[in-house]
Symmetry: C2
Subunit: 340 residues, 2 copies
DNA sequence: CTGAAAGCGCTTACAG
DNA sequence: CTGAAAGCGCTTACAG
């Protein structure tokens, strides 16, 4: 039994062509499922390729086709200090990777310094990526502008800038705000506070909007003393809580637009002698892993991140083909645990 | 003022050659810092390239050089259920990305199904990656074997199989076990339990070994009733705690070889009425983000993961050049918080 | 349905 | 120090 010789000499389509007794044109066509080749020949050639573990040379193919079939996943370097965003990023990557793989594309990691914009022309002009997926916590607008100027195909996570002809996938933030508020009202809360991320972020404003809609519908007053902001960090969540407790000591619920901050709120409340959920109910946002592990486990708005990742991938590929930008909102749902 | 025409026709080295009045051979050499080109010419050419945002075509370069200058980062798909390992993976990726970038390499994400091994010849034979970084929670041995058979350059995170000529970076597990036990003894504990991941894992055995060394040196008995194992999951940590509490109700400390399990231990202890750290001190392993967020915050053994990532990258590139495998242990240190 | 040939944009011996 | 030319391994009009 002839075991396949190690380093068997089947490295190029020419080798396959020789074995099959056809030209390399035919091999090329057969391997890319061209209708120009007979079923018999195709089967023969594919069998040979399989048998010899032959994979077409990516560099040659890319040079010929002028496309890399590779997408750059652009994000900020992962820092020492772990943040919510990082966790979120990872989960998103899983979905994106799956989606791209299904479409026959590779995922290249482009870890950029927040202030550098040179990466874009570099990756684009060298042909290392055909398009980009933008998932950056900060400075997103800057990078969006750069890519638009370069006419680089890309899709972003989050709400796109006004009047920009670009692809995006975002969570349904208004709905998320509504879900949280509706749940808190349903469990009988009347003095529902809001702790948001930076108020300049559209996402935060939309969640606030959803929360306000529901309060209004329930004829609850929109008390500004019940609104505070942080920066998604641990500490800012604790500080916001203290401020709220001072401004509105009678609050009986808090809706926090990020799980990391929500966990800090939980802790700050307890430190001030409030029991969760008996005295104050807390709802977070994102359903990160810490949500299940917190004490008590956190009720939170989940964005179905893996799905979002898949859609990011699929819609970018679609855009690459059609040139038609899509903007989608992925649904959100409430995960009910013990904090509310 | 002539703004650079959008889509300026400087796409290939031939364009640069024309502008500079030299041949493309010279441009190619100048851009790759060949000593064969005069300083003047080089400066001229590099200036032109800069001015026109010219980046050399990656596909053509790869085809010519027969190397992709790309490394495949191999890991399992990110699942719905978030695990410790995922967090760990992300942090490691940050360091790897930085290290590869510094060496002029790109990072390709290779998300594989745990049981599939076809990815290896595919990525290798198509020339999409020159080497691989293996960071998989499970089935590592299978993939290591596959890569060895293919003679594919790679480096792995973790302790390499015995007698395998391969590159690796691992944490100093024995030392980690020692640090935990030493600290617990230093704060006066006598009945120190051990909760490990699966006992077949070398990492777990080494941490146990470190722990035992220290107990022995302190003349504390090695009581088998104080040892239990889990599978790194939440639940298994809780179960192990209950078993220990039954076998050794007088325990006053627990060393847990993973933070996820440690948090579960924390909770299970409290559920059984033990105060942490007053009654029972707890030390975890890995210093994941949950370690700071747990209640009380977890004292834990940290592996300096970003450094590990950088070394993984650098040593793989080194191996690609020299063919000499390296095996390094990155240091560990204890992060003292409130649980011990 | 198939093949011979040109071309994708680089690198690098080889000849000055 | 520089250039003309071959070659890397594919794809795809073009001609049967």
């Amino acid at each position: 039994m002839a075991r396949k010789a190690p380093g068997s000499q089947v490295k190029t389509i020419m080798d396959i062509a020789r074995l099959a007794g056809v030209s390399k044109s035919t091999v090329s066509r057969a391997l890319s499922d061209s209708p120009l080749v007979s079923r018999e020949t195709r089967r023969l050639i594919k069998g040979l390729a399989e048998k010899h573990q032959f994979s077409i040379d990516a560099a040659a193919r890319r040079l010929s086709l002028r496309r890399s079939r590779t997408i750059g996943f652009v994000t900020h370097g992962c820092h020492k200090e772990f943040s919510c965003t990082d966790l979120f990023t990872l989960e998103l990557m899983g979905g994106i990777s799956a989606g791209l793989h299904a479409g026959g594309y590779d995922l290249l990691l482009v870890n950029v310094d927040p202030r550098d914009t040179g990466w874009a022309p570099e990756y684009l002009n060298s042909g290392r990526a055909d398009g980009f997926i933008l998932v950056m916590p900060s400075r997103k607008q800057t990078h969006v502008r750069t890519l638009l100027e370069l006419e680089a195909p890309f899709i972003m996570w989050g709400v796109p800038p006004a009047r920009c002809k670009c692809c995006s996938v975002a969570g349904d933030n208004v709905r998320g705000g509504r879900l949280a508020a509706e749940h808190l009202i349903a469990i009988g809360r009347k003095r529902i506070a809001f702790v948001g991320g930076p108020p300049r972020e559209v996402e935060v404003r939309q969640r606030l909007e959803g929360y306000r809609q529901v309060l209004r519908e329930a004829s609850l007053p929109a008390d500004p003393a019940l609104v505070a902001y942080g920066d998604y960090s641990d500490r800012s969540g604790a500080e916001a809580t203290l401020r709220l407790l001072e401004q509105a000591p009678d609050l009986d619920a808090v809706f926090v637009t990020g799980d990391m901050m929500a966990v800090a709120v939980l802790r700050a409340l307890r430190a001030r002698g409030r029991r969760v959920p008996e005295d104050v109910a807390v709802v977070g946002y994102d359903d990160l892993s810490i949500a299940q592990l917190s004490v008590p486990p956190l009720t939170t708005v989940s964005q179905t991140v893996p799905l979002a990742g898949r859609i990011l991938a699929e819609n970018l590929l679609q855009y690459l083909e059609t040139g038609i930008p899509t903007n989608v909102r992925v649904p959100v749902h409430l995960v009910t645990r013990e904090s509310a």
